[in-house]
Amino acid sequence: MNQEVKTKKLINAPENIIAEMIEGMVGAHPDMLRVEGETGRAVVAVEGPRDGKVGIVVGGGSGHEPAFAGYVGRGLADAAAVGNVFASPSPSHIVEAARAVDGGVGVVMLYGNYTGDVLNFTMAAEELEQAGIAVRHVAVADDVASAPIERKSERRGIAGDFFVFKIAGAAADLGEPLARVEALAQAANDATRSMGVALSPCSLPQTGKPNFTIGDDEMEIGMGLHGEPGIRRQKLATADEVTDELVDAILGELQVEAGQRVAVLVNGLGATSQIELYVIFRRVKQRLDALGVEIHASWVGEYATSLEMAGASVTMIKLDDTLQALLDHPCRTPALVVGT
């Protein structure tokens, strides 16, 4: 391919892309989202933050839309700190988001477990604590492909964010105190497993170049949400074979038995059609049905993307009564509406 040719995107100047996206998001959902602070990177719920309620701040790099600002709204996150494409937001972005949602009883910060996010949220927490705001954080680490279970704390956060954010958001909305919201977010994180597969690369708006190369007939099992290499590259297989591999890895750890309940998320990475996602979900359900495991709730669609990467991930959370009630708690955000 001509070195000069960039991958095609409908954008303006790449350096303005985040500001323009936020302008568009807030403009499209003015009943749910607003921007607060100086940096323009703190997207805050119109309804949600209130005195006496634990504030929920989520965040991470851009390019994963609807994560993270799409989860801001009543019953879910109170604010999102929005980083550059594939780059954690800076402490100043995070501090602005946290200050906007502080209701006097502390803030829980949730993000995917990546070095950049851990470092920036940690620096932000240091600053907030100096200002007298109590902060807890939970780094979502659901990607079974990214490290063995003995090193679970090193695992990446991928689409499992969805369940952890939802459950923490519900707990905060219900008025749970800071330590309990943190514990429930951690419980959700402990009960959640994901694994993905990628078929094609994505390209950063600034470089306009595919961020990895992959053969015309290959897939990468365990690919990360930024195109970080996974555990194996192999010839493309059928949807059922691929789904079985993901489900096997997840169930191997989750240990769900007949009569137990899970919630399932089949997530598209950006360029994968809903037909494919539903074909994958069908196989996940066949597998769970065969085990007698009940699917309490399920979502199929784009919930944590990698720009226009082709591929998908499967996420399951093992539910007890507490987690289930929190998952069912109503919320209203651009990316997710639950309840009536």
Binding site: S88, H93, G116, M123, A147
Partner: protein, 212 residues
Amino acid sequence: MSEIAARTLARMFERMSEVIEAEKDHLSELDGAIGDGDHGITMSIGFKAVTTALAGMNLETASPSDVMSTAASGFLDAVGASTGPLYATGFRRAAQALSGRDTLDLPACRDMLTAISEGIRDRGKAQRGDKTMLDVWLPAAEAATVAVANNLSRPAFWEAVETAAENGAAATATMIATKGRAARLRERSLGHADPGAVSAAALIKAIASLQP
């Protein structure tokens, strides 16, 4: 002569930004192989922000420590990512090390390099051999320490520092990553140089070319 030292530092950051612009695409490609492909972009945004922030300072009155502090905040606010906290902490630590100093003599340069490497290490909790930028900054700082102890000339000092940095960057290709995004790759990271190490060597080369 605090003007001169502050000016030198500001010039140093300009040179760093230039070298990052020149290496930008290459750094992103290196990051694409074992990470998420944005390292050139984050470094470019970061050092542009630093030069913008420094342009807003009065270098007649600023101390070297002020320059370092301003660089740290400028970098951090604009970048985020992994490199934001790492370099910001390194530069802040350097600001402390340079505090009260008016000249950039070789001991000051040694202390600056040491402070940067320690700041990066303390923030990122990485160790030597983890296949990160630390594998450049730590040996560079050590080389500076040895060079001062051996009373090397200014050119020899910087040559030693630059060589240590280059060797460190090259060595990362033989290491298995255990920190950062590449850590999940394990054996598959072998053979690929670490982008953060390569950019660190480029930064040190840029500083050395000025021989402050």
